[in-house]
Amino acid sequence: MRGATHAKWAACAAAVALAATACGGGGSSDSGGGDGSSVLSASWGDPQNPLEPANTNEVQGGKVLDMVFRGLKRYDPKTGKAEDMLADKIDTTDSQNFTVTIKSGWKFSNGEAVTAKSFVDAWNYGASLKNNQKNAYFFGYIEGYDKVHPDSGSQSATTLTGLKVTGTDTFTIKLTQKFSTFPDTLGYAAYSPLPSTFFSDHAAWLKKPVGNGPYTISSYTKGSQMKLVKWDGYTGEDKAENGGVTLKVYTDNNTAYTDLMAGNLDLVDDIPASQLKNVKSDLGSRYINTPAGIIQTLAFPYYDKNWNKSGSEKVRTGLSMAINRDQITNTIFQKTRTPATDWTSPVLGTEGGFQDGLCGDACKYNPTEAKKLVQEGGGIPGGQVKITYNADTGSHKEWVDAVCNSINNALGNDKACVGNPVGTFADFRNQIGQHKMTGPFRAGWQMDYPLIQNFLQPLYYTNASSNDGQWSNKDFDKLVDRANAETDTSKAIKLFQQAEGVVRDNMAAIPLWYQNGSAGYSDRLSNVALNPFSVPVYNEIKVS
């Protein structure tokens, strides 16, 4: 019987222990305060580069920066307009010299105050060549950049001469040229302030980044998962409405969607094209599809004589007419894309420079006219158009095949167009960089900030950083220069639109569609929205 007695005692002890924990209270175990049960899980991808603000140029890293940092300006999640965040005022008299005053009282989550020095040090770090920041070119307008980040050779300075700290909360910026809309670009993550621990203990900061936003990072397993929790010490107005976000890395977005369906995940953004057909029946109202500042185009290799001779613009225009955008965006993308009628994005709004219908007939499906134009232009160079794209992400194979089928049907030739997949994004960029394209290639552009300048200059200006096709047109360049110098915003926008007209007349790139952001969420969540960068507005999501 002794065994039984022991067993009885053990059972009693266990029962007492259980009761104690049950009565002990339902407090959360998450650090950083907040309601522990209101944490949502969201899909994520592994950021390619370390999570430094001036080193992150893709959406996945951008999600984290959006939660952990706040800069001088912030783009309103609904309208995309740049609004003051940490900036109290940004004054200028000549659109070239700016005086920035930041609001006092802002702190980093480790207690440090956010000062003018936090900004200037961060920007100097970002611009300096030795730090290898991929977004260094964002500081390219600031005086002194060419010394800090020369095109070749080693740098002769470590700080930008155009940045000066004039007080605890003030600093001045001197640009190398007039740029009237410069303050509106300052919402971009690269311009975030950084705490001193970033510089004093860089390795530790990289393991667990510290910022001044509504969330702090409580744990980060690189390549796998990041747990962010609400920071109660956040003084901004856009406090987090939930207890935290757990970002889970998925190799394949289809698996993320499957997880959402099985109740294993709360939020998936960027629904893969193959699931779009059943997403409404799966999720009903828990599926959102909103415009984002992303446009997909087909760029051309102008370094190849075949695409640069007389008549080529007829061929390009003809190809543009051969693409049935409506059918493709309806069938493949289930209306998460809208056929493009200009080269910017509806997110800009008409005041921002968006012109619906600028492209005119050239972007309307017209197979007979397409065939005629292509013939008039001298036919397709080489007899076959190969559309190059990277096959590893983004559902590109589906739409490139659809575009090719559309062209083939319009021109009445099965082999007129064929897709040319490249295995990896890195190799795709490689081939573009080495000018190896022989035909049109995918050129998607996501805006860095919601200005018409951002849709035109980096893509079509001579030798611009994203002008992959090397298109060059003096009239376009002149108009853009004038627009940048123009201090009156509406006049500047008109000049940009004139420049866009030049792009249209030459069909420098074929605009395909505006890409929406798409997301699906579980029934635990409410108030889910995407900002114009197609990133979920995590801090406004409520968890029930």
Binding site: P272, S274, D401, N405, K415, G419, P421, G423, D427
Partner: protein, 326 residues
């Protein structure tokens, strides 16, 4: 003293290709373990060679007959797909995307609005071609290397063994991802080349083993004593008797190469358009399983049946050639 044919190293057939060869290797071993290979072709009388016995058994084996017929059918429609499919695999109508089977289109439409039936029929040519050419390349390349190493032994043998180990150590899928991701040509040759590059070690091991076994037979010693040159020995005496295990393994390998093409397409590094292949269709359809399973079902079914036919053929041939299992 010649090397023991029963070396454990031989029994360890690496699994670069995921296994089929290991099965076939050990099964092929049973073929070699039997003492006394085929009798020599006598000068007169009914020749009762291994091959004629095997053929007699095969003729009566229903498994062999069925699989041979299936393969014959596949070869015929590879060469003349228009016999059973009147449409055009490249002509697609997006308005019909993902629709199910309809009159005139028994397998329905795929994600681009292409006819699944036509694409499946035309895909036969590509998939069977890739399988056959890859197997031929592997068989020839592997047998020559392995056979020569087995025949001459010594340093050549050591070098070859280390070389096969090196290639075995590289996982196949990984190698495919790495090598094929930079290929720009859209023909079948890069994929076939890759399969030959990573597949030859399997066959060379088998060939080496069986040549070593055959080398030890009395008739070979006798021919050598009579002054036959190396090349005569190899061609007339050793090869016919050593080739059986290679055939067995090769037919099974063929099936796996066809399957591997599909996996490579799934990873994004397989054949490129406008090639029509089952692998391309299967990997494209795999995301649509929930909505439009027919897109996956038919090409995957065709692939499974083809692979099945080849493996069953290999099985039947092995059974016929293996006296131990009578």
């Amino acid at each position: 003293m010649p090397e023991q044919p029963f070396e454990p190293e031989r029994a360890i057939a690496g699994t670069g290709m995921g296994g089929p060869m290991d099965l076939a290797t050990s099964e092929a071993e049973t073929l070699e373990k039997t003492p006394g290979g085929p009798e020599g072709t006598g000068p007169s009388g009914k020749p009762h060679s291994l091959w004629s016995d095997a053929w007699r058994d095969l003729r009566r084996n229903p498994v062999f007959i069925i699989s041979a017929l299936v393969i014959l059918f596949l070869v015929v429609i590879s060469l003349w797909p228009s016999l059973i499919a009147s449409g055009n695999p490249l002509k697609c109508d997006l308005a019909k995307a993902q629709e199910g089977s309809q009159p005139g289109h028994p397998f329905g439409y795929d994600g681009q609005g292409c006819d699944v039936y036509t694409r499946t029929v035309y895909g036969t040519r590509t998939s069977v071609t890739v399988g056959v050419l890859a197997t031929l390349g592997v068989a020839i390349f592997g047998s020559v290397l392995g056979g020569l190493a087995g025949f001459f032994g010594g340093v050549w043998d050591s070098i070859l063994s280390r070389l096969t180990d090196i290639f075995f150590a590289i996982p196949v899928v990984l190698g495919g991802l790495v090598l094929l991701s930079v290929v720009t040509s859209n023909t079948v040759w890069p994929v076939i080349g890759f399969m030959v590059l990573l597949g030859w070690p399997q066959i060379s091991r088998i060939a080496r083993g069986s040549v070593i076994t055959a080398k030890q037979n009395d008739y070979v010693q006798a021919a050598r004593a009579l002054g036959a040159s190396n090349s005569r020995l190899l061609l007339r005496h050793i090869t016919p008797n050593a080739v059986a295990p290679v055939i067995v393994v090769a037919t099974i390998a063929l099936g796996t190469y066809i399957s591997l093409e599909a996996t490579l397409s799934y990873l994004g590094v397989g054949l490129k358009p406008p090639t029509v292949s089952w692998g391309i269709d299967i990997s494209a359809a795999s995301q649509y399983i929930r909505n439009a399973p027919h897109m996956l079902l038919w090409p995957a079914g065709a692939l499974a049946i083809t692979v099945l036919a080849f493996i069953m053929l290999g099985d039947a041939v092995r059974d016929a050639l293996d006296p131990k299992l009578r």
